[in-house]
């Protein structure tokens, strides 16, 4: 198993009971898991999420996650 730390932004934290914004979430996934697998595990759909930032870079759904990765998830937004 690999463990990744996830930080949720916007109103996503409200969807996870007892989410602690300081510490984020720690999620365990199978080795070779991708960003898409992580979103699945969190129950997030394409409609909910926008940018997934992986160690400071913007990630694609097929990008593989490594053990200890830090992931930030933002919601889709439109500029105004």
């Amino acid at each position: 198993m690999i463990r990744v730390t996830v930080q949720l932004h916007g109103t996503l934290p409200r969807r996870v009971p007892a989410y602690d914004p300081e510490r984020g979430l720690t999620i365990s996934l199978a080795p070779g898991a991708t960003v898409a697998d992580l979103l699945d595990a969190l129950g997030l759909t394409a409609e909910d999420t926008g940018v997934v930032a992986l160690d400071g870079r913007v990630a694609q759904p097929a990008d593989a996650l490594s053990d200890g990765a830090r992931v930030r998830i933002f919601q889709v937004a439109h500029g105004g």
Binding site: H9, G10, T11, P21, A46, E47, D48, G50, V51, A53, G56, R57, V58, Q60, P61, R72, F74, Q75, V76, A77, H78, G79, G80
Partner: protein, 573 residues
């Protein structure tokens, strides 16, 4: 619907029915088509030939949600081209309820004279001497005028920057709670109003002469579909009411597109201190408002009320663009300093974006260190005092760049960029370069496409077409008077269909499926026509050189879209 023409030269007022040439136009459609038809394109923007036009949207004053938006148009002293600057508050709905399609301010009062225009609840307009208000800041002015006229009035006004006729001068409108904190900020239209000798437009909110709706039932039903769409959408239904537009900040920063330290970095180190999440937390702790209705008819409530550590009102609404221009762009990560700068700009009547970019250029040139919030506050105060440096700063980033002989000036057609770097969001670069308005994110923002993964923000491909599409849609929405933040409601085919049904029900005729595109194209063509006749050419549709030459970390990209592609953006079929 009627046009009220106010001649400042002889203080005469004429009311006329909407000429047939302008039928079917409102908001930006009306201001732009009218300016193209009536304003000599080579005129001095601060002279008597220019016209300042205030027009509510086509559907302002109807039961449709989020239509409390006003377009203010003129030839811009900042860009030298046509300008539409959009604001909220109550004035659009109020004018529409009085049956007024536009207020057209013409001519010029003798130098030193100052007037206010008052439109009462019967729609009758009169000019009143306002020499007592000379030099007044907007908060004090509006408090005084609303005390005098009573709470059933709303105001559009200028502050000291407008009276000084500076290129970054805004026109401030009062919000739902009667504070002059909404702004038609861009393009120096406050300077045009100041040059006319007009300090304020005071409008009754209780008019009963709204334009008729041909099919009220059909209208109601389609309006309901739009409102439901906005409530269901996670961005307009959850993010904006809870975090405001500041909710965008984390995502844009994560995409490396948050122009920081005068656009030398795409990620701001202190972003977590000024993000939407940090702002909401601060306001919750201090008893401010994270959710606030800024404009009439709004169901999104993206606005907020920032308070100090004693719970006292500082400003409303602290928005994403200001958190950037007075935050990351000048290296400031202190929300209290940013909120103070936001208030000062509203009070002096200044565009927070153009002023922030101007400050960033001054800091980049070594005038003051990045991150020095107190120095930024002192510099903005100089604008109100009208010192030599204050006048340069208030004239915008290009004036500041010239003053310091500094090359890195992030502006197009004289107007400072917005909070999306064109090297990390290439399509925003296309919009900045080609928009008839100068660097204007609201003219065609592609953030939604990038965040949804529908378009690669870093590649040149596809950006010109996407920008053209967004520019056409935005022009149509600005004509209708729909808030840009509610624009998502017409992004889907179902939403577009509902909007066509609304227009059809309003005018009592079926709208063609491409009616919105046609509307947008008509407006953009009029604007382009004006700009060409004003002397703007393809060389003005370019980003500053440094965007092509200096890679932006962390992606280390330059602006890649070719000049050929830029020149095709306004080739409409």
């Amino acid at each position: 619907m009627q046009l009220i023409r106010v001649n400042m030269t002889d203080q005469s007022i004429h009311v006329e029915d909407m000429p047939s040439a302008y039928e079917g136009l409102g908001g930006r459609g009306l201001t732009s088509v009218m300016i193209d038809a009536e304003v000599p394109p080579r005129c001095d923007p601060l002279g008597p030939e220019n016209k300042l036009i205030l027009a509510p949207g086509l559907l302002s004053g109807t039961p449709l949600v989020n239509t409390g938006r006003i377009s203010i148009g003129a030839k811009s002293p900042l860009t030298g081209g046509i300008k539409e600057s959009n604001s909220g508050g109550k004035i659009a709905t109020s004018l529409a309820k009085l049956g007024i399609a536009a207020v057209v301010v013409e001519g010029q009062a003798p130098a030193g004279a100052l007037w206010r225009l008052v439109i009462d609840d019967q729609g009758k307009a009169a000019l009143q001497q306002a020499s007592d208000d000379k030099g007044a800041r907007t908060y004090a002015l509006c408090a005084k005028l609303l005390e005098q006229f009573g709470p059933k009035y709303t105001i559009a006004c200028i502050g000291p920057a407008g009276e000084l006729q500076l290129g970054s001068a805004s026109i401030q409108t009062t919000d739902v709670d009667d504070r002059p904190c909404r702004a038609a900020a861009r393009g120096g239209l406050g300077a045009v109003m100041g040059a006319k000798g007009l300090k304020a437009v005071v409008v009754a909110t209780q008019g009963k002469a709204s334009d008729t709706i041909a099919d009220p039932e059909g209208f109601k039903e389609a309006a309901k579909a739009i409102a439901q769409g906005l409530q269901k959408n996670p961005f307009t239904g959850q993010v904006l009411p809870n975090l405001g537009t500041a909710g965008i900040l984390g995502g844009v920063n994560a995409m490396g597109a948050f122009p920081s330290y005068n656009a030398t970095k795409g990620v701001f180190d202190g972003w977590e201190k000024i993000s939407g999440e940090a702002l909401a937390e601060r306001l919750q702790q201090r008893g401010g408002k994270t959710k606030h209705m800024g404009c009439s008819q709004c169901i999104i409530h993206c606005s907020n009320e920032y308070v100090d550590d004693k719970g006292k009102y500082v400003t409303s609404s602290l928005e994403y663009e200001t958190l950037w221009s007075m935050g990351g762009m000048i290296g400031v990560d202190d929300l209290d300093a940013i909120a103070r700068l936001d208030f000062l700009c509203d009070d002096i009547g200044l565009d927070t974006m153009n002023t922030g970019v101007a400050l960033a250029v001054a800091m980049d040139a070594g005038h003051k260190p990045f991150g020095d919030g107190a120095a930024a506050i002192a510099m903005v105060e100089e604008v109100a005092r009208g010192t030599d440096f204050g006048r340069i700063l208030g004239s915008g980033p290009v004036a500041v760049g010239k003053h310091f002989n500094h090359h890195r000036v992030p502006a197009v057609k004289g107007q400072g960029i917005a909070a999306y770097d064109p090297r990390a969001m290439q399509g925003l670069g296309v919009t900045y370069a080609t928009s008839t308005m100068g660097a204007d994110h609201t003219a065609g923002n592609l953030l939604g496409l990038y965040m949804a993964g529908a378009l690669d923000p870093l590649a040149a491909e596809g950006q010109a077409d996407a920008s053209r599409g967004a520019q056409v849609t935005m022009a149509a929405l600005d004509c209708i008077g729909l808030c840009i933040l509610a624009g998502g409601a017409v992004a889907s085919s179902k939403g577009r269909e509902a909007m066509l049904r609304l227009l059809g029900a309003k005018f009592g005729r079926e709208m063609a499926p491409d009616a919105l595109t046609e509307m947008g194209v008509r407006i953009l063509k009029a604007e382009k026509n004006f700009n060409t006749r004003a002397g703007l050419s393809a060389t003005d549709d370019r980003l500053p050189r440094f965007f092509h030459e200096e890679p932006l970390p962390p992606h280390n990209k330059t602006f890649l879209v070719s000049d050929d592609d830029l020149d095709k953006v306004y080739n409409f079929q």
